[in-house]
Symmetry: C2
Subunit: 229 residues, 2 copies
C-alpha cells in the first residue's frame, strides 16, 4: 500500500508542482486548501480543479479567519504593489506577508496528519524568491518538524518520524517551472496573481505575476495563462 501524504495546495504554481513531486515520489496524496478570506478567491476553485485532475484521493478546504489579524495586502483592502523590479520584490518582509500564516497552515496540516495517520506533509515554500518571509526558511521548517513530532500521537508513538517536505525550498522560479514541465504539470490550471479580475484573469503587474513571467522567460517556456496587462 502506498504511503499517504498531505499536500498544502493553494492552486498556485509552487504548490501544484509540489503535488506533482509528492505523487512522483509514490505518495497517495490528500490535498488541503485554506479559505482565509483571501482577496484572490479564485485560487480555491483552481485548487479544487487541480486536486481532481491530478488524482488526489481527497481534497479538504479549511476555513481560517486571518482577517482579524490584519496587517497584509492579501486579506486587507490596502493596495497590492505593481510594476516593481525583482530587487524591490525580494528585499525586506513584503507587504503581502500574513502574520504566522505558514505556522497556522502547518498546524492544521498536523491535525489532519494525526487524524489520517499520515506521517508526511508537503509544502511548496521557497526561500529564494520570497526571502523576506521569515517562515519560508529551512531552519523554520526544521523547528516546525520538531514541534510536529513532539505534539502528536503519530510523532510520539508512530514507527516513523513525521516529516515536513519542502522540495522547492532552494529552487528558483525557473527551476520550479522546468520541474513542473518535466512532471507534466498543466500550468494553465495554476493561478499566481494577487489581484485577478472577477473572471480570474491575472493582472500581469503584481509581484507574483512578475515573478511568474520572469520565471517562464528564464525557463525558456511559454506561460499558458492569459493576462490583462
Amino acid at each position: 500500500m502506498p504511503l499517504k501524504a498531505i499536500v498544502l495546495l493553494s492552486g498556485g504554481l509552487d504548490s501544484t508542482t509540489t503535488l506533482a513531486i509528492a505523487q512522483n515520489e509514490g505518495f497517495e496524496t490528500l490535498t488541503l486548501s485554506f479559505d482565509y478570506g483571501q482577496r484572490h478567491r479564485v485560487e480555491l476553485d483552481r485548487a479544487r480543479t487541480i486536486a481532481e485532475q491530478m488524482g488526489a484521493v481527497e481534497h479538504r478546504v479549511v476555513t481560517v479567519d486571518l482577517r482579524q489579524f490584519g496587517a497584509s495586502a492579501l486579506t486587507d483592502t490596502i493596495e497590492v504593489p505593481t510594476h516593481r523590479s525583482a530587487g524591490e520584490i525580494t528585499s525586506g518582509i513584503p507587504i503581502t506577508y500574513v502574520p504566522a500564516r505558514n505556522t497556522i497552515f502547518l498546524s492544521y496540516a498536523l491535525a489532519c496528519a494525526e487524524v489520517m495517520e499520515c506521517g508526511d506533509i508537503f509544502i511548496g515554500i521557497n526561500a529564494i524568491d520570497y526571502s523576506g518571509y521569515p517562515d519560508c526558511r529551512p531552519e523554520y521548517i526544521a523547528a516546525f518538524e520538531k514541534v510536529a513530532n513532539l505534539a502528536t500521537r503519530i510523532g510520539v508513538e508512530g514507527a516513523r518520524k513525521l516529516k515536513i517536505h519542502t522540495p522547492l525550498i532552494q529552487m528558483t522560479k525557473a527551476q520550479i517551472i522546468k520541474k513542473g514541465l518535466d512532471l507534466g504539470v498543466n500550468h494553465s490550471l495554476t493561478h499566481s496573481c494577487y489581484d485577478p479580475d472577477e473572471n480570474g484573469i491575472a493582472c500581469g503587474v503584481c509581484d507574483s505575476c512578475l515573478l511568474r513571467l520572469k520565471g517562464f522567460k528564464e525557463a525558456g517556456a511559454l506561460d499558458p495563462l492569459k493576462y490583462r496587462a
Copy 2:
C-alpha cells in the same frame, strides 16, 4: 509602559489562574479564546466575563473549526467518560484529546503577537494532571518557542525573544487552586466541566470535574461551583 502579553483563556480554572499570574507579573493582558465547536460552549461566555472582570485590555474570540478533524469527545458526539478513577484519567492519551489543538491555538496566538507587537504568550497547560496529552510537555513548549522566534518578524527583528510562558506546567491541581486563591481569583466564575447542562451547571462526574473536585479537596478549599451530581 507595561509590557503586553497574550493570554490564552478558555474560562477554565487553569487559564484563569494563568491570567492572574500574568497580571501579577505586571503584564498588560490581551486574552484570546477559541470557538472550536466545543460541546461545552458555556466556557466562551465565562471567558468573556472573566476577561472583563479581571481587567484584560482586550478580549478576542477566534473561530477555529476543529470538527472537520474529528477524533475527540470534546467536539464529537461520542460520550464523555464519567466516574473514572484518577489513575484511569491520567493514563494514556485521553479520549478528549483534540489533534494538534495546542499547536493550532499557539499559532493563532503567534499571529496575534505579531500584529500586536507583543513578545509574551501565556498558556495554562499542565504536564501533571494531563500527562497523556503530548502537546502539554515542557519539551513541546520549548520547540514551539523556537518556531515562534523563527517564524515571525518580532522574533527575527525584535529586541527581545518571544517567550511562551507556562506557569502551571509543573503544578498539581491543588497547587493551581491555592495559587489562584493567593492571587484573588474568583473560582466561581471558572468553568471546568466537559458536559455541562443547558444552564452551564457542571456534571460533577466527568474527568475534568473529578480532577477539579479532587484538587479543591487536596487544597483544603471549598469549590464554590454548583454541581448536578
